[in-house]
Amino acid sequence: VTREPRLPRHVRWLLRLTRVPRDRRGEVQDDLLELFTVRLGDRGRLRAHWRLYRDLASLSYRRLPSALQRDPRPRAAVLRDASGDLRYAARLFARQPAILLLAILGLSLGLAVSTAAFSIMNAAVLRGEGLREPGRAPGVLKASERFTSTEWRYGEFLQLRDGATRMQVEAVLTEGASVRTEAGDGPGPTTNLGFVSGGFFAATGGRVALGRVLDRADEQQLDSPPVVVSFVFWSTRLNRDPAVIGRPIRVGRTTATIVGVAERGFSLPNLRMVWMPMSAFGAVYNSERLDGRSNASVQVFGRLQPGVSLAEAEAQLSGVASTLPVDQAASGAGDSRLRAILDTDTGLGRTAGSARLAVAVFVFVVIGLVLLLACANVASVLVSTAITREREMGVRAALGASRWRIVRQLLTESLALGAIAAAIGLMLAYWALPTVGIMVEAPAAADIAPDVTVFAFLGLVTLLTGVGAGLAPAWHGRGADLVTPLKGEGAGRRLVAPRRLRSTLITMQAAVSVLLIVMATLFVRASVRAATIDVGFDSERLYAVSATLSGTGNDNGAGIRAFWARAIAELQSVPGVTAVALTELTPFGDVTKTSIAGDGRNRVVVHLNRTRAEYFETMGLRLMSGRIYTRDEVAAKAPVAVVSESLARAYWHGESPLGDALPEPIKLPALPAAAVRPVIVGVVADAIPARLNDHSAFAVYEPLDPSSEIFARLMIRVAPGTSGVIDDAVQRLRSIDARADVRVASVAAQLEQETSRPRMLATLTVVVGAIAVVLCVIGLYGLTASVVGQRTREMGVRVAMGAAPGDLLRLMMWDGLRPVAIGLAIGIGAALLASRVAVSSLLFGVSPQDPLAFGGAAAILLTSATLAVLVPTRRAAAVDAAGVLRQS
């Protein structure tokens, strides 16, 4: 047998260093060998070698194109492969419908949750309200040495607008009013209105889907004012009627004409549904028309002219502002001149970025956890099929399939799964979104329907999940062993690694489930607490009225005092109004005044309020002992105070505080009279006046100083069983001073808003937590069932060796539950950390280490895991030893 001629080994090695692409190396090697052989015969050994090295050298400075590049497989072939892969996947799925259903169920639940969560976050945080180039549209703040305010008087705005040349200055006044779309009597639903100056749409960049925007000419339109409605309003209240332009709608006390429908996504500022010209303000509220002397507060913003910097515009606008008269009554005598501050982070409903970020991060973490779970679940299902498919992969590899080809098959399968799941998930999300919207109390004006961003998100996530879930079994199938699987018997040997992988997946799922259940339980308990929390007074039929008067305000507050005096007198004659009181702070209003009492370690929040004597009756706070301060004491600014019950208990330990001075540790802001500490004359029932999560009902009430009445608000209590009383009352208030800017807020609504935040988080985490447990149980069941199936033979042997069914059951149960137990420990640790660090500020009256939440979570997980393991295990324990052994 002649040896097959070959190039010297070092030449073959040198060939690798040349620039010949790998796929052509064999070809080149054969050519060189042939030439070498010929030359060896013709010209002798030396010449042949010399020419061989020359050829080698020539190959290393010329690049030879790759055969793959020059000879691409027709693109159709790749597609044909892909469709083959798909067909194969379909046949495979059809053979294992149960596994397929489990995987799709898990994945579509995960995708539905993340799509819904993302839609809401998209609407609430990411999308914004349609402001074009926000960096060029700053809010205009009013500032002097003593104060900074976001609101200007309407008259001041007109002067700013006329004086500004470097930017377009516009204003908006946000209000609510009843809007009715059909003819008839009675009020319609209260709708967010924006009264806007003429250039509002031009300055914000708002466009319309139908009709036209409002412009400067509309400011002159007094009868039947034109309105632009939002896309959401058009969709929900007008049924997307294309012929809506020109239709009359009833807004407040006037009839307006629809001239335009804003494009989708435009709702500046703060979810407006209807925009009208400012000039329509008087008609809507049946008050006097806004003009240069009006006192209504408006928010001012601007759009910088092209090429003008923020600083230039600010300097010019401050010049205009400095000519405006300073409101002495509000800021105190001797304040400096006004100036304008341009701030691109305020105005037009923009909120501080950090608040948005916190919500976004929370939602993204939840989405991430759910997807991780869904991914782990599908991966574990696919790994279980991969084990049984080892033989198939072996055959494929033996027939010459490259590793990439096999991985592609697996990826095609998991992507197909992902696509089916995404379709189902999208349907689930669509179906669930309105419900979710109601659950999280999305405002009616918010547009939470999925848009392009949401679809893109879903697509990306599906792709990631599909690839992620497909790579796990592919990784397991790496370095495919050609021989063992073909022999058929050896499969058992390689079972250890994938089982460990799947156990790790189960551990992860269990940990995430526990984390989510603990969070869900904490939030549910917090929201139940928040809903049932006794705020100490009846917030129903309680209203807070604020008023800003017209006039120059140079009367040192005399005007507002007269207004309040008349208001109280008028309101007491309104039937149905049971009590009226002036107070500095209203419950759950925007402003709170607190004092920190005690030394560093024992800090408690004490709420301070200055009120008229009627406040306690209006609020419905019961007098526990002593007396309320009298009207005379209020008028005389007497140094007396009323404290809340829990404060009295904390500082006097059951003794009566009456007649004592207010304890030193409670700091008081500059006392009105001499620095005499007020004497306590009475104790009233506890009430929670401000933030629900303060956990503090410590309160000190002092008489309202008449000179502070300019800051005061009016509380109105309406008798139960009456209707329309508050409208009547507001009508009377407006009739006192038609130019006054009177606004009414329902305390019940403010309390509702305060309690809605934990409810939203509770709803979200409960749904997600429940899905997490379901996913975990599915995964565990699948794992146990497949492990039991693979260990049937072992069980048979054990039974033959004398193991009782109980022993087998115990063995299998422990094997199945071990990853869950480890996951439980990890999850509890993570939950302890998360609840302490991240969410304790959102928990109302619930300890972050609430034993019920942690115990409950552990119990739920262990119970469901035991069930998931028990069902398949019982089947294995009843194994027929003789049958199994005979089979093998």
Binding site: E27, D30, D31, L35, L59, L64, R70
Partner: protein, 108 residues
């Protein structure tokens, strides 16, 4: 012409493929060109010329059926395309015209 020009070495290679009959491969081409030009030709330059010719569409290559030679391995075989042939002929004609002009001038 398609705007693709032939270099001298490329022309030799192209003509060699044609001369050797279609379905020839790199080794005979190298030997042919080396003999015809009487100068040593490296394999690297042959491969490069063939690659350029193929890129320009003057030859095409394919892997042959397995043959008894070379241990039954298949090899890359080259064929001159119609456009390759046309280009070579055009070049030849240009040269002929120039030479005949020289002949008429009686300078040779």
């Amino acid at each position: 012409m398609k705007g693709e020009r032939l270099g001298e070495f490329e022309e030799f290679t192209l003509l060699a493929v044609r001369a050797l009959g279609d379905n020839t491969y790199a080794v005979p081409i190298q030997q042919f060109v080396e003999e015809a030009t009487a100068r040593p030709i490296s394999m690297g330059s042959i491969y490069a010329a063939l690659a350029r010719l193929e890129q320009k569409g003057f030859v095409r290559s394919a892997m042959s059926e397995a043959l008894a030679q070379r241990g039954g391995k298949s090899k890359r075989v080259y064929t001159v395309t119609a456009s390759g042939l046309r280009t070579a002929r055009d070049l030849h004609r240009v040269r002929d015209r120039i030479w005949s002009a020289i002949a008429e001038g009686g300078r040779s």
